[in-house]
């Protein structure tokens, strides 16, 4: 990995981000790319009503993570772990309840409208190819919409639309088609084209290939890696499908009930998973090798239900399902510990003093 010199990057932040850049940590030796985006202790709670009572659902709880420029950060977790909420907090579709977000060294306002520059540089690809496109708009109109909103001239819009349609591997004539005329894979390409139209630096992909057939998935994943290479894109790739995440990610964050339990380079995480939950997840991947159906024995003591984010367990949220749960797990939330370079894990098994117990 080579360090990308500061001055080669497209620097669009000078115009108008009033907030002074906060001090950035010195990049560690093995991962020299500076972070494009950082989340510090970000939380998102919803108020839900049930049986006349108002309950607080903490969908994302104290998440801190780093997305490195030009790389892919994978976010994995079971359904309901807050992945999609986190994606929407990052892109600003939901405003965070608390915490700080830093994009390109400038702080993003926690709520309210984001500056134009941030909107433009951070786009999203949605999960459902059938609901992500306006059925009454042609492909060209859908892709052009964000450009028009940003006030681009008609001629530039047309040129950009033609460009991105060919970038995602669709013939230019598709610009006049309606979504119902396209296949799922083609719609997802249009979806990607729309996200690219504003020439963002970072794209959040929320289960972007999950709804597609396996063969189409591979095509779209290849397209994504090609585009990343060609345009130096930074991806936040959210999926429940560990095979896909392993394929595309440089680093991976494992979420459990809205909290980060492990954050490590992809290769390291697969070779040396540390958090019991990560081990459980990895052991449940359907293996490609017919001879070994599961890597390890399942970790679940009993296949009890996943606790709810409305009333999460005290201390470590995973303790109710953890085979290694200790007394301390119910009392204290484990802080993230760096066990090796760039490998963070939030588990009492690795905190000082409880080593012996493990």
């Amino acid at each position: 990995m080579t360090e990308i010199p500061e001055n080669t990057m497209i620097n669009t932040t000078e115009a108008g981000l009033a907030v002074a850049p906060p001090p950035v940590e010195q990049p560690s030796a093995t991962l020299p790319e500076r972070p494009l985006m950082e989340l510090l202790n970000v939380s998102k709670t919803f108020t839900v009503r049930s049986g006349g009572k108002r309950l607080t659902l903490s969908a994302v709880d104290g998440v801190s993570l780093r997305v490195r420029e030009g790389k892919t950060l994978g976010i994995v977790g079971e359904s309901g772990c807050g992945k999609s909420t986190l994606a929407r907090v990052i892109t600003g579709l939901h405003s965070a309840t608390s915490g700080e977000m830093i994009f390109d060294r400038a702080q993003i306002p926690a709520s309210g409208k984001r500056p134009k520059e941030v909107i433009q540089q951070m786009q999203m690809v949605f999960q459902d190819p059938s609901s992500a496109l306006n059925p009454r708009a042609t492909v060209g109109e859908s892709i052009a919409f964000p450009l028009r909103v940003q006030g681009m001239s008609r001629k530039d819009v047309d040129a950009r639309v033609t460009k991105v349609i060919s970038d995602v591997g669709l013939p230019a004539s598709y610009s006049g088609s309606y979504p119902h005329q396209l296949s799922g894979g083609q719609r997802q390409r249009v979806n990607i084209a729309r996200a690219l139209a504003l020439q963002p630096r970072m794209v959040v992909l929320d289960e972007a290939v999950s709804a597609l057939d396996k063969s189409i998935q591979a095509q779209v994943l290849n397209l994504l890696t090609d585009l990343q290479r060609d345009y130096n894109l930074t991806y936040v790739f959210i999926s429940h499908d560990l095979n896909v995440v392993e394929y595309i990610s440089d680093e991976v964050v494992v979420l459990y009930l809205g909290q980060v339990v492990e954050h490590a380079p992809a290769k390291e995480l697969w070779e040396n998973p540390q958090h019991p939950y990560t081990k459980l997840l990895l052991s449940s991947i359907p293996s490609m090798d017919p001879d070994d159906s599961t890597r390890d024995q399942p970790l679940d003591k009993d296949s009890s239900e996943i606790p709810s984010a409305i009333n999460p367990p005290s201390g470590c949220r995973f303790r109710t399902r953890c085979p290694m749960a200790m007394d301390i797990c119910a009392q204290q939330a484990p802080p993230p510990i760096e066990t090796s370079d760039g490998h963070l894990v939030a588990c009492h098994l690795y905190t000082e003093g409880s080593q012996a117990a493990a």
Binding site: L93, S173, Y174, G185, L198
Partner: protein
């Protein structure tokens, strides 16, 4: 709708090859590809709907009747044989088919055909204007209520519920009697009656649309709420509203006719169909055929509107 052919993804190359056989094969692949791309032509929802509507014979006939009625109402001053307001007392209550008075004359000797033609203006206005006005206002309210959760949306819809808690004709009568007789007041009354149901349709349609991901995509582009409502939501709720509203025109006409039948609509001697029916009611047993002429026209127009509305609903129900 028929399944459209979906061409495969763009091949990186159509292949080449050195020998003539493989070159020919590559050429053929390229032609097939181009043909496939050609077949995916723009098929706008509205063009498709129009095509499907034209294939429905009943709908076309009904629409033709509506157009014919509208044209004869618009050109009533040109084609009416007599003045609709002035009659010859000696010609009172001539039966249908009387030379010079094809549809007979009324109790004041006025030519029925002329009165029907002029009356069509009032009835069609009373059918169309409230429907269009209510569709516009109701859509505005419904889309806002569907987009804005919380107090604003709830208050708007609860207010609609309160108006909706009246039987339609009773509310029209109550508003009509509060405002007093006259065509304008009838139109206002029927509009008020129709706003709540249109708002409900628009609201539930909007709530179905706002949860879709393309709305989030639009928000992500930094578009304002108004812009999203106009360019993303409206085109997707419009067909529901049009289908619903088109079914209201006939009923609006009937309500308006009912109001004037009760003496709350257009003021006499204006030849409104409902009022004509009421004033001829006394002659039911002497010239029954002349008496039912205005009623027949209300019925005919209403049938035509309902048939056209049904055809439109079928044409739009393509689940695109």
């Amino acid at each position: 709708m028929t399944e459209t052919f979906v061409p495969p993804l763009l091949p990186k190359s159509f292949g080449g090859g050195v020998d003539p056989v493989s070159r020919a094969a590559a050429e053929r692949r390229k032609e097939e590809w181009n043909a496939a791309v050609e077949s995916v032509k723009a098929q706008s929802f509205w063009i498709e709907t129009g095509k499907r509507f034209l294939r429905n014979r009943t709908g076309v006939v009904a629409a033709a009747i509506v157009v014919a009625l509208a044209l004869s109402a618009i050109f009533a001053p040109l084609i009416s044989p007599y003045d609709p307001l002035i009659g010859q007392p000696v010609d009172r209550l001539k039966d249908i088919g009387t030379p010079g008075h094809i549809l007979g004359t009324d109790e004041q000797g006025r030519d029925m055909l002329s009165r029907i033609l002029f009356g069509g203006r009032l009835s069609l206005l009373a059918g169309f204007v409230p429907t269009v006005a209510a569709a516009v206002i109701g859509t505005l309210i419904g889309v806002i209520a569907g987009m804005v959760r919380g107090v604003v949306g709830t208050v708007l819809m609860r207010f609609m519920d309160m108006l909706y808690a009246f039987p339609a004709i009773l509310l029209a009568i109550a508003v009509g009697s509060a405002l007093g007789p006259g065509l304008t007041n009838t139109i206002i009354a029927v509009t008020i009656v129709y706003i709540p149901p249109v708002a409900r349709v628009a609201q539930s349609s909007t709530r179905r649309v706002v949860v879709q991901e393309f709305i989030e995509a639009a928000r992500l582009s930094g578009a304002s709420r108004a812009r999203i409502a106009w360019s993303q939501i409206l085109p997707n709720v419009l067909n529901d509203i049009i289908v619903y509203a088109s079914g209201l025109v006939g009923v609006a006409m009937i309500i308006a006719a009912s109001l004037s039948f009760l003496g709350l609509g257009s003021a006499p001697p204006a030849p409104e169909w409902g009022y004509m029916l009421n004033s001829l009611r006394g002659e039911l047993f002497t010239t029954p055929l002349v008496t039912i002429v205005p009623g027949f026209f209300i019925f005919l127009t209403s049938v035509a509107f309902n048939l056209a509305s049904d055809a439109l609903r079928e044409a739009m129900d393509s689940r695109l």
